[in-house]
Amino acid sequence: MSGRFRTPSGGRVDRRRTIRFTFDGKSYQGFEGDTLASALLANGVHLVGRSFKYHRPRGIVTAGSDEPNALVGVGVDDAHYTPNLRATQVEIYDGLVAESQNRWPSLNFDVGAVNEVFAPFLSAGFYYKTFMWPRAAWAKLYEPLIRRAAGLGRAPEQPDADRYTQVYAHCDVLIVGAGPAGLAAALATSASGAKVFVCDEQAEMGGSLLAEKTAVIDGLLAADWTAKALADLAARTNVTLMPRTTAFGWYPHNFLGLCERITDHVAKADPKLPRERLWQVRAKEVVLATGALERPLVFPDNDRPGIMMAEAARIYANRFGVKPGDKALIFTACDSAYRAALDLKAAGVAIAAIADLRAAPGGLWVDRARAAGIDVRAATVVTGTSGRLRIDSVSLAKLGPDGRTGASETIACDLLLMSGGFTPSVHLFSQSRGKLVYDEALQAYLPGASVERERSVGACRGISDLDTVLNDGAAGGSGAAQAAGFAGALGGTFAVHTDSVGTDGFIGVTPHGGHPSKTRAWIDFQNDVTAKDVKLAIREGFRSIEHVKRYTTTGMATDQGKTSNMNALGLVSETLQIPVPQVGLTTFRPPYTPTTFGIFAGQSRGDLFDPLRQTPIHDWAVAQGAVFEDVSLWKRAHYFPRAGEDMHAAVARECKATRQAVGIFDATTLGKIEVVGKDAAELMNRMYTNAWTKLEPGRLRYGVMLREDGFVMDDGVVGRMAPDRFHITTTTGGAPRVLAMMEDYIQTEWPDLDVWLTSTTEEWAVIAVQGPLARKVLEPLVEDIDLSREAMPHMSVREGKICGVPTRLFRVSFTGELGFEVNVPAGYGRAVWEAIFAAGKPYGITPYGTETMHVLRAEKGFIIVGQETDGTVTPDDAGLSWAIGKAKKDFVGKRSLARPAMTASDRKQLVGLLTVNPKTVLEEGAQIVADPAQPIPMTMLGHVTSSYWSTTLDRSIALALVRGGRARIGERLSVPMPDGPITVELVEPIFYDPKGARLDA
C-alpha cells in the first residue's frame, strides 16, 4: 500500500511497481514514477523541513524545481550524500534514504524553533546590525552560532564516490523545456533536418500536458498527443531528447550549461556511468520554452505545512494520483485555481470554499465551480491560519471596496491552496543579457530585445492558453530552424479544444487587516523573509530592489526567489507608491537550480586534475627513491634521500659530491626555443638585453630578457648553433610566456624580419653532468667532440653523438663547477642518462635534485628568475648590468630603464647576507630592517629572497633585495622574527669561488 492519500486510480505512476524508501529513518512506500514529494504526500506527510532562520515547520509548496521548502538530504552514506535536494525533483527508487534538514533533534521537535521567540530580534538587516562588534567575536561566537542556527543542508565529509563527466556538444537548435511549447517547437524545427537538442529538467517530458485531463490536441487527449509527439521526435535521428537535464546557465555566444542527471533515480546504477553529465552546448539557435511558475499569495501565516500552490495540488492529483489533503480551501486571484479545485474535487478532495481576491469573479470556470456545488466567495481574503505542524483552519474575511476587511470566519481544513497567477520563467533569457520588459496587464516581466540568437515561446513569454502556446512553439521552432539555415521547417497550427483560464493574477501582499508589526506574511519561504522585513527595509531608506534584496535577503536563497521575487517587487512598489518597473529588477544568475560541484570538476580529479608533466628520466628517479616537487606543471626530483636521510642530510651529501667529484641532474624541464632565419641574430638583439651579433657559432651566452616595462622577465643560456640558428633556454616555468612574447613581437611589430620560432622544450632531454670529474665521465661516451679544456672552453656548444645518439653538448655550469649539459632527443633521454650514470659509477657520480641545484647556484650568487626577481626588479637591481649591451640602440625594455624611477639609487638591490651566527638559517621572505626596536610599522628595507644551509661553506648563506643594498655592503642590518631579531651582515652576492676558476677547469 502506498499511502492513504493515493487516489484509487489515475495518474502516471506505475501502480504495479511498489517502491520502498525511508525518510528520516521511517519506511514508506510509493510507486514507480513518484517523486519523493508525491510519495510523502500520498502517505500524508506534509511536514518535511524547518525554515532557515526561525525553524518554522514547513511543508511541500510546489511540484517542481521552484520548491522553496522541501529541501532534503539524500544518500545512504557520506560518499553518496547530496544535501539540499528538492523533494519535488527527487525520484524515488528502492532503498532511497532521505532526511530532512535544519532540525535538531527531530523534525517534530526542533530546538532551533526557539528562534521564533526571538523573532523580533531577527528582523531585516539583523545580521548587519547585530554581528558587528567586537570583531574578535566573529570567529568564536557569531559565525558558529549563525552556522548552527541557520544552516541549510549538511556537507558530506567523505570524498564524493561518484563519477562526473563533462562533454562539449554542438547543435543547430537547442530547445529548453519540453512542455507544450517546447514539444511543438521541436516538432517544427526538427522537420527541417536541423540537428536539435531538447532538454527538460523533469524525468518525464511533457510539462503541463502531463497534468492535463481534458484538453484535446489534433483529436487526441493531451497525454496521448504528448506520447505521440515524443515518439515522433525519438524516431528522428536528428533529434536528441534529454530528460532529467536542467539548462542551468547561459554563457556568451549561445553556450549553455546543461546538467543531465543519469543515475540518481536508479536503485542499482551501472558503476560505469557518471552520476551526472555536464553538457556544454554551443547552439546556433536557442528556443526557450521554459514555461511559467505559479506565484504564492502573501497573507498572514501563509507558511504552514499543508499550504500549497493550487496548480501543484492539481499536478499531484492528476499526474501522481495523490490527494494532497482531505479538505481544501482555495485562495486565489485567478481562474486557474478553479480548474485545480474541480480536478481535486474529482480526485476526491472536499473543497471547503474558494476565496477569490477579485471583486466580481465570473466566467466559465467560476460558473463550473458553482455548478459543481463549490462555495465561491468573491472579494474574500485569508486573514490568518492555524495549526502547529499542519494547517487545521483558515480565517476568511470579506474585503470591502475601501480595501478594509470585515469580520472573519474560521473554516476547518487540512489543505490551503493558493494561486496568485503565473510568473513567466525568464531566467535563462535574462542570463543571456536580453532586456526584460514589464507588462502592466500581465503584471510580469517578459523577454524584450534579444542579445543572443534565441527566442522565447509559450508561457515564458506570457502566452498561456494551450492553443496559442502550441502554435507559438511551432512558429518559434520553425523560425529557429530558418535562422540556423534550414528551410522546410513545419510551422503548422494545432487544433486544440480547451478552455482558457485567463491571465489574472496578483503581486504583493494581500489585504488582511492585521496589525502590520504583529503579522507575519512570508514572501520568501526559504530565506524566511516576511512582508514586515521588506517594509522595514524601505522605512530604513532602501529603495532599489537590489538593496532591499541584500538587506532582507529576499530572493537570495538557493531558489533565487523563483516564488518570491515578484511579490517582493509588488510590495515595494505598493509601499513606495511607484510603478513596478521603477523599483528595478534583480539580476538572474546561473545556476537556474543548485548544481553539484561534481559536474564542474568533471574528470579533473586526482591525478587528472592537471597534466602531471614528467621527464623521460622521471621513472628512473622514482626507482631511486627521489622525492618530487611541483615546478609549474612539472614533477621534478627535489632530492634523492638514501636510507635514513632527511632532506638536509641528502642535500648536504649531494652538494658535497657535486663539488668534490661529479653530480648528475635532470634539467629537461628547462624551456627551449629554436630561433631560425637570416634575421635570427637581429631578433635576439631586439629581444634580449645582451649583444648577439658577435657571438660565434659554437658559443654560449647567458641572456636576460625584459618586459617592455624594463623588469626582468626571464633568463637562460643561449647557444648559437649556426649563423642563422640559436638554441634558447628559458626558465622551467617561463617557456610559454617567453615564446608568446617573442611571437608577439615577430608577428605584430617586426613582420619584416626573416625569423621563425619553434618550441623545442620537449624535443630535448637535458642531462646536467657537473663537478670536477664531469669531463672524465663523459669523454668515453662521446663521438666527434673534443671535450678538452682548450677545444671546448666554458660557455661553448658542440654537436656530435653521445652513446650513439645525436647530441647538442653544452659546456655550461649553474653550479660553479666544471659542467656539461647533455641535450639528446627526448626518446633517448632515459637510455643516455643510464649510460652516463653507469660510466660515472667509478667516479662516485651522484644524482641530485632541485634543492641541491638551488644551494649550489646560491653559493655562486646565480639568481633564479621568480625567486630573486618578482616582476619589479631591473637588471641593475639584480646585479646584471654587465649583461646589457651598452652599444645597442634598442631592445625590449631598454627605454623603460631610462625612466627616473628605474635608476634611483635607493632601489632594492641584490646583496648577499651572512648571519652573524653562522648556524642561523634565515627564512625566505623575511623582512630586513635597520632598527628592530623601531615601533611597528617598521621601515622595511628589503627582504630575503633565497636562504640555505651551505655544506660547502659550513654556514648559512642568503641572498636578499635591500634598498640601496650595494652601497650598504659591510653594514649590519636586522631580520625581525618572532623569537627575536637576527643580525645579518651585507656582503657581495657571491660566496664561493668568486674568480670562477673552477668553471674554467
Binding site: 554551443r282 574528470q603 597534466p611 631560425v676 619553434t758 663521438e783
Partner: protein, 188 residues
Amino acid sequence: MPDLAIRENSLGRLASAARTIPAAMLTVLPDAAKLLFRGRPSSIDAAGKAFGIALPMEACRFATSGNRTAYWLGPDEWLLQAVGEDSAALFAGLAAALAGHSQSLVDVSHRSDAFALSGPQAAYILNHGCPLDLSLQTFPVGMCTRTIFGKATIMLSRPAPEVFHIDAWRSFAPYVWQLLDEARSELA
C-alpha cells in the same frame, strides 16, 4: 661505443595496459620523423617538392602520400611527418633543398608522441575535453588543427570518419590518453 638508438615512447606503459573498448579504441601510433617547417610563401613550393607532397594551402588540412604527411598548422607553419624514417636524413635533404630560402626547419621528432582514437564513439569521447564541433560537416576527413583537450594542447587530425589522430607533447601525452581513457569508461 654503446648503441642506444632505442627510442622510448611516453605512452609505452599506458599502451601496453590499454583496455579493449571497441566503441572507442586507443592505439599508439608508430614513431615518426617530424620536421617543423615555417617560412615565407616563396619557400613553400620548394619545401613541398623536397618533401614529396605539396604543402596544403587550405587552412587546417593535411595531405598524405605513402608514409609521409604534411599538416597545415598555421599560415606559415607545417608539420612534415615521415613514419618510420630517420629524421637526420630527412632533415638534411630538406635543408639542402631549402638553402637560400627564407624559412626555418627544426627537427621535432621527439617533441611529441601520437596515438589514435577510433571507433563509432570516438568523436563523442574526444568531446570530453575538446570543444570542437567534430561532426563530419565541420570536421571532415582530411582536417587537422591544433586545439585543446582538457588542459593540454594537442594536434588533432581525422584520417577516416571514425579515426582521429592525436599528437601531443611528450609530457602531456599521458594526461591526454588517461583523460580519454577515463571518459570512455562508460563504453566499457
